[in-house]
Symmetry: C2
Subunit: 184 residues, 2 copies
């Protein structure tokens, strides 16, 4: 039984302590019997690339890491608003279409509607809406239905961080489930 | 030469006038020589489903529409924050991994960094950061690099709405390019 390789998707790469977060997540993976592939582990890009070519280089590196992974553990926590990071959501969709199981973890224990809807705001059909009057989907899930239902159908699961649980607890649960799935 | 079928992804489905927007976009598709597949055109779900089963039903319907499409035209405009809608980003990743060309349109003419970074905020490496000190990627593109570079490699392109251009102008450009690509 080989050690599963898990692509660690998430906006963590933008954090001030991105490298430290990656190391910590990878240590948890090792402890739980997996190899964590973190985007910032890619070799530094060649010097002298234009901004656009640098972006293209990073894209190709990330796709290569995803291709070489057995599954994905994605940080779907709210990022610069109530929703998951769009780059991460892209990667989740890509991995699912590629037939790989995805596991999610979310830091915010609230449901998406609770986090996004205007308190007491309802549209003419009685559906919750945001401050602009746009419908907020209300399926009792922590993130957008495409993410949760897609993850479920891939064989994965979304883990929500319980209030007061130790840091990265939902991540740890997601890796545990991913190892069980990918090694099974 | 058959008429290309384009999946119309985007947070438009949450708008108060979602049905009207869908009709309008589909009329533009017809005018430009395509069939627009809009998620709200799916048959109404069976009665009596639980909230979670309803969400799963919508997911499967959307995936079926995507499977039957020749390409995708995705609304990547900022949604509830500076980033693209996460459900849309999921669909873009899925379509690209499925080997279909994706075209994007963005309402906001600003680059992602311009829209997201704190004015004058730089980290120790001189990179733009948001109000929380997190790095904002700065490649001069309108949305996250995974979306733009992925769309490019799929054979597609991201169209940005010019200030003062008529409503849905960038959408129209995206459909025009998609028709050229999918019928070519």
């Amino acid at each position: 039984m080989s050690v599963p390789r898990l692509y660690l998707a998430g906006p963590d790469v933008f954090a001030p302590d991105a490298i430290a977060i990656g190391r910590q997540k990878q240590a948890i993976c090792v402890e739980l019997g997996a190899i964590g592939l973190f985007p910032l582990d890619n070799a530094p890009p060649p010097e002298g690339l234009s901004r656009h070519d640098l972006a293209r280089h990073i894209y190709r590196d990330n796709i290569d890491l995803m291709r070489g992974a057995d599954g994905c553990v994605a940080n779907l926590s709210p990022f610069r608003g109530p929703n998951a990071d769009d780059g991460t959501a892209f990667e989740v969709g890509w991995m699912i279409a590629a037939g790989k199981p995805v596991f999610g973890h979310v830091d915010d224990p609230r449901a998406l509607a609770e986090r996004s809807a205007m308190p007491g705001g309802l549209d003419a059909q009685g559906r919750p809406v945001d401050a602009d009057g746009w419908w907020v989907e209300d399926f009792g899930w922590p993130v957008n239905l495409m993410l949760v239902a897609g993850i479920e159908r891939s064989g994965g699961q979304v883990m929500v961080q319980a209030s007061g649980a130790p840091r990265l607890d939902a991540f740890r649960q997601a890796v545990t489930a991913a190892v069980r799935c990918c090694a099974g």
